[in-house]
């Protein structure tokens, strides 16, 4: 299992469409992916869980990935968040 802390950096935070992108990526992997804020923990493969995190801009997120393709999964999710979900702001 690998884990990494990433900060949500897009202006709108983890809103509905951004969450949908994240969940879509997480679902491409076999590994289990979970996201944790200091308030709660959610399965990154389920849209409701990710939305319930209500992670605004600057929220630190701990990504935990466990499975055969964990390294690639972590790298893609981290890239998506740091790329501001492709929103440019």
């Amino acid at each position: 299992m690998i884990r990494k802390e990433v900060t949500v950096c897009n202006r709108l935070g983890l809103h509905a469409r951004a969450a949908a992108k994240l969940v879509q990526i997480a679902n491409q992997f076999q590994a289990q992916v979970s996201l944790t804020t200091n308030q709660m923990c959610a399965d990154a493969k389920s849209i409701l869980g990710v939305l319930t995190l209500a992670a605004a801009k600057d929220t630190p997120l701990i990504i935990e990935v466990d499975g055969p393709d964990e390294a690639e999964a972590l790298s893609q999710i981290e890239h998506l968040i740091q790329d501001r979900f492709g929103e440019g702001e």
Partner: protein, 323 residues
């Protein structure tokens, strides 16, 4: 024993939040407003009688210090100068807040020290006994640790059934099936479990309440779609079923004699591992699992009864003479 995975959160409460929560006790801030962001870390209260008598090592600064008629009468026996000497070392311990009951007028020195050290001094018009009961009761639940887990919580025949398992195993679909069959949804996807004494109460996070997500349909509102009887705001978590893809060499329980449990916030809860495969109607299996749990509680244990009868038959066969 297996432990239910999840994120454990210890809720915090500032004095400010405490005052807002107890508007029913008519609590007012009399002095020390500068310290309203101090945190109350313990649900227990303390009456600082010993500390007033000069013994300070047993004081718990993280607990609300209740000053009732006894404490105030004792303080009023002393001169102003002595009161200051008595109270000063207590304030130096960094008390989260003082709560003066019965609408008693606070001695001047108490107010001065509260202001000087930014220690909130709260007052209530209610009697100490009532204040202590209500404060302890509410703080016990507000400060109880919360475990946030992935899973679906459904009330099945009044029993809180927590369905866990990997993503896309069909937890939500099973829950929807249960709802259609008349059971009630508490939470889909994220369940918050609180422990109070020997009980585990499960609820949905505020934002999520009564919503579900189903692949292909998106987010739906169960309360609007199925009506108020299809949902429930909280239920006691009494059974955990883990769904997993059928494994050829999986070690599944065939007898039902071993009663497995899973630990949730330190409490054991009955646990079943259930394989999912084509042709297995998970909803019916879940319903029967709950019926069986209820039956066991009534003292009827199907698996044990069966093996007892088998045992009797084996013994009878041994006694029969050889032909």
């Amino acid at each position: 024993m297996k432990t239910l995975a999840g994120q454990e959160i210890h809720p915090r409460m500032s004095v400010h939040q405490f005052v807002d929560l107890f508007s029913s006790l008519r609590i007012h801030v009399t002095a020390g407003r500068g310290g309203l962001d101090r945190e109350i870390e313990s649900p227990r209260i303390q009456k600082p009688g010993l500390a007033l008598a000069g013994v300070h090592e047993y004081i718990h600064p993280e607990r609300i210090q209740i000053l009732g008629e006894t404490e105030i009468s004792y303080l009023n026996r002393w001169s102003g100068e002595d009161r200051l000497k008595i109270l000063q070392p207590i304030f130096e311990r960094g008390i989260c807040c003082f709560l003066l009951t019965k609408g008693l007028p606070p001695p001047e020195e108490l107010v001065t020290l509260a202001e000087g050290t930014d220690t909130p001094l709260l007052t209530s018009t209610e009697k100490s006994s009532l204040v202590i009961n209500q404060v302890t009761d509410v703080l016990m639940s507000a400060l109880a640790p919360v475990l946030s887990v992935h899973g679906v919580l459904v009330d099945v025949y009044g029993v809180g059934l927590l369905i866990i398992g990997r993503g896309s195993i069909g937890k939500s679909e099973s829950a929807l099936d249960l709802i259609v069959r008349g059971h009630r949804l508490v939470s889909d996807d994220v369940v918050e479990i609180r422990r109070q004494a020997d009980h585990l109460t499960g609820t949905a996070p505020e934002l999520l309440r009564y919503h579900m997500e189903l692949r292909g349909l998106g987010i739906i509102n169960i309360k609007e779609l199925f009506g108020v009887v299809a949902t429930r705001s909280q239920v006691e978590v009494e059974l955990v079923v883990e769904l997993e893809h059928w494994q050829e060499n999986g070690n599944y329980d065939r007898l039902g004699l071993d009663e497995l449990t899973i630990s949730i916030l330190g409490l054991p809860v009955p646990y079943l591992l259930m394989p999912v495969a084509p042709g297995r109607n998970i909803t019916i299996l879940l319903e029967v699992a709950v019926r069986n749990l209820l039956l066991k509680r009534k003292g009827i244990h199907s698996a044990k009864d069966f093996t007892r009868r088998l045992q009797q038959m084996l013994e009878a066969n041994v006694d029969e003479p050889e032909p």
